[in-house]
Symmetry: C2
DNA sequence: GCAGTTACGTACACTACCGTACAGACAGCC
DNA sequence: GGCTGTCTGTACGGTAGTGTACGTAACTGC
């Protein structure tokens, strides 16, 4: 999310710590490979491990009713999965789906809670991150309510590009439809439109961002709002 | 939210504390009258006071873009306003609008933070409440995305009835339209439909719940989901 | 008692999205 | 080459919602 150049393979929350705390913490982390489309947790599950993505991306998806799911957040190198633990609740509030394969730093719950008590800076950092996530969920809520599919798709692509740290990544229309809570056909139309405007190109799930600035124009203002909030609170 | 009878004029979060903590805290609270339609805070404002409603109701409304606002949460005697402070962030994430006039216990931020440090039970209670609110926001997000206006209206009326602790309260179609993020006319149609089914009656803003069970059937399952979560975490 | 304001009802053309169905295009595999 | 599964494009009727406009009823105040 930062505009500063990012070293691939680091997690911002961990990197922002004082070097003492950071070294101690990293020593206890296990670098883990997250596999595309894996479901790490389902809403209601007890949380046994937390994840700090470095090159991977995790989607937070909330089940609404028997027919519907909706993505409410995206976690990449700028964030973490396992926030309920900060609130002393050991229950996942959302489904956690691996949306982009890659690496993540992994800690067991007990070790994580231990480290949390040891480092005030760490705790502070994560509390602020939780605040940002709360705001983002609400923003996403409204975005899903008011904005058209094409704008939401553009926003999603931008957010994913930020976290993928690459201008191309793999994601099919079916997957996007699931995330945005629309029909696959709705994505096909919107994606086609973005492609006709030469903002993106795609072929069998391989999406490439061609014109980032244009995509920002095509997206709703939610993208900028979210980014600004992150900078304000954690920048 | 509890099914047990509720003494009007108490706040659940405060009442749930050990009697020592509770007495200490109540001694520092100032009972305040909240006026209908007052905006206590706007998103981004620094938080100078926190509120624990007893007979009042506060709506959390998130501004989405220049044309749209959306209610993401409802705070009555079961909750509080001022949660960001628990995360050490002194910035309101949402607009706080008085949706039901009445009393609330009020604390200045400094006193609140002080009390928070003094009582582990208080802190624990509020962290759990924050967890519930986070989940509810996501649920509301999806509800707004997938469910029809009539079902959402029914849910809103039920939630408000719980918090108003009365089967009648005052709210106009315009106000409801603002909260649910739809046209006023959309509310008129939905409300009319509920009235024709003899579930509610209304006249110039005075709404009366006639058939609670029927209203629960007419509402989406989100109402039950939310209630169940609250019981599970804070019951 | 009239005027102004507030609350609710109805009507109309329009749009985004839905559910479903079907067909073409491409990739991997035997 | 042909088969199979995956991914994308197109098509069609249906619906819940939009923006706008206008009308009516009820309460409020001078």
């Amino acid at each position: 999310m930062s505009l500063a150049p990012v070293v691939t393979g680091t997690n911002h929350l961990l990197a922002a710590l004082p070097s003492d705390d950071s070294e101690q913490l990293l020593a206890r982390c296990v670098e883990t490979e997250l596999v595309f489309a894996d479901i790490l947790y389902r809403s209601g599950d007890p949380i046994s491990h937390v994840y700090f993505p470095t090159t991977s991306i995790i989607s937070l998806v909330t089940p609404i009713d028997s027919n519907h799911n909706l993505e409410v957040g995206l976690v990449g190198y700028e964030g973490m999965f396992g926030l309920p633990l900060i609130l002393s609740v050991n229950v996942a509030s959302y489904n956690a789906v691996v949306q982009g394969a890659g690496q993540a730093m992994c800690l067991s719950t007990s070790v994580f809670l231990n480290e949390l008590e040891k480092s005030a800076a760490f705790k502070q950092e994560l509390k602020r991150y939780l605040y940002v996530v709360m705001s983002q969920i609400a923003q996403t809520a409204g975005c899903n309510r008011f904005h058209v599919v094409e704008a939401r798709l553009a926003r999603w692509l931008l957010m994913t590009q930020d976290r993928a740290q690459s201008d191309q990544f793999h994601v099919t229309h079916v997957f996007l439809a699931y995330m945005l809570g629309v029909r696959r056909v709705g994505i096909t139309k919107a994606a086609n439109s973005l492609q006709n405007k030469a903002l993106i190109s795609y072929k069998r799930g391989d999406i490439k961002i061609l014109d980032r600035a244009g995509l920002e124009t095509a997206s709703c203002e939610c993208y900028r709002t979210e980014k600004a909030l992150y900078e304000q609170i954690l920048g």
